[in-house]
Amino acid sequence: MLVSVYRYNPEVDKTPYMQDVEVDIPAGKDLMVLDVLELMKAQDSSLSYRRSCREGVCGSDGLNMNGKNGLACITPMSAVVKKNKIVLRPLPGLPVIRDLVVDMSMFYKQYEKVKPFLINDKPAPAIERLQSPEEREKLDGLYECILCACCSTACPSFWWNPDKFLGPAASIQAYRFLADSRDTATDERLTDLDDPFSIFRCRGIMNCVSVCPKGLNPTRAIGHIRNMLLQRAT
């Protein structure tokens, strides 16, 4: 199997380059892309990438595999390999630190902007803030995000304005707290989003939906936020 992998070590290389590596895949096995990276690292320990849980929970190993973002640990080779070849690149649009490792500062900055925590100005009850099953249900499809950045780095609007547009990941988090019955800062949150960039830079091309490894729908969440803004202002 031919693996073409993006290599860049700023201490040694002037420019990034693609390195072609022949990897022996054990016969009869459909390895995950991460397993192939592990085999490559056994051959060349200088190859760098992030990984942790190896089961699609931690969100560390977001990569661009044959042109599509996804988590290397839960993407089987059979799903991405074309003509017995795979091209592995870092997530697009973010600065590369080394090889497949990207600088996610901008991504986290957008996440921080949406205040991803419950704000409630009422005195805390003795035990807990209760939520009905229906209210809790509204958070399904929102809270599952693992912040792997596959969606935001597949979004052209985030590529052009990563400092101004929240991007799909932070947007779905913004709605997650707008939709939470225990949060009382809805108005302040909406006011923060009513500019031409934060939420309205989404053009609805749905790259985020097509790459999300957890099957979430940030475009729909953005639509809900726009509806909330519209209802508040009309």
């Binding site: 052009w160 989003l193 009513d194 500019d195 031409p196 934060s198 726009r226 803004l229």
Partner: protein, 115 residues
């Protein structure tokens, strides 16, 4: 909130709403004109002149002109903030677009109410 002074309404929601409402007006205007062309196969200058002499048509055309200007401003502004990263170049581009839209708008009024 991201600060901005060159967008049409300075509010994301306002620009978004303006773009959608103006799109509906433009679609209605285009469909009306297409319908008129289909319903009037032997279109003469007198028919065309008569159509635009009607007050309702003047109102509709002016509404379409205003919609076109606002719609184009929101669209061109969005394109410029996506692709033009140098603020001087971006401002000049936005100024040029605004100028062209203003020319079209005044020219359109002149066509409607001029001699």
């Amino acid at each position: 909130m991201v600060a901005n002074i060159t967008s049409l309404g300075r509010s994301g929601l306002y620009d978004w709403m303006v773009q959608r409402v103006t799109a509906v007006v433009l679609a209605a205007y285009i469909l009306f004109l297409l319908g008129y062309f289909v319903a009037t196969p032997d279109l003469s200058y007198a028919d065309w002149n008569g159509l635009f002499a009607c007050t309702a048509m003047k109102i509709f055309t002016l509404m379409a002109l205003i919609s076109l200007s606002a719609h184009a401003w929101v669209g061109m502004w969005t394109i410029s903030t996506d692709y033009l990263k140098n603020s001087v170049v971006r401002f000049l581009f936005q100024g040029t677009c605004g100028g062209i839209m203003f020319v079209y708008f005044v020219w359109g009024i002149q066509i409607l109410w001029g001699q």
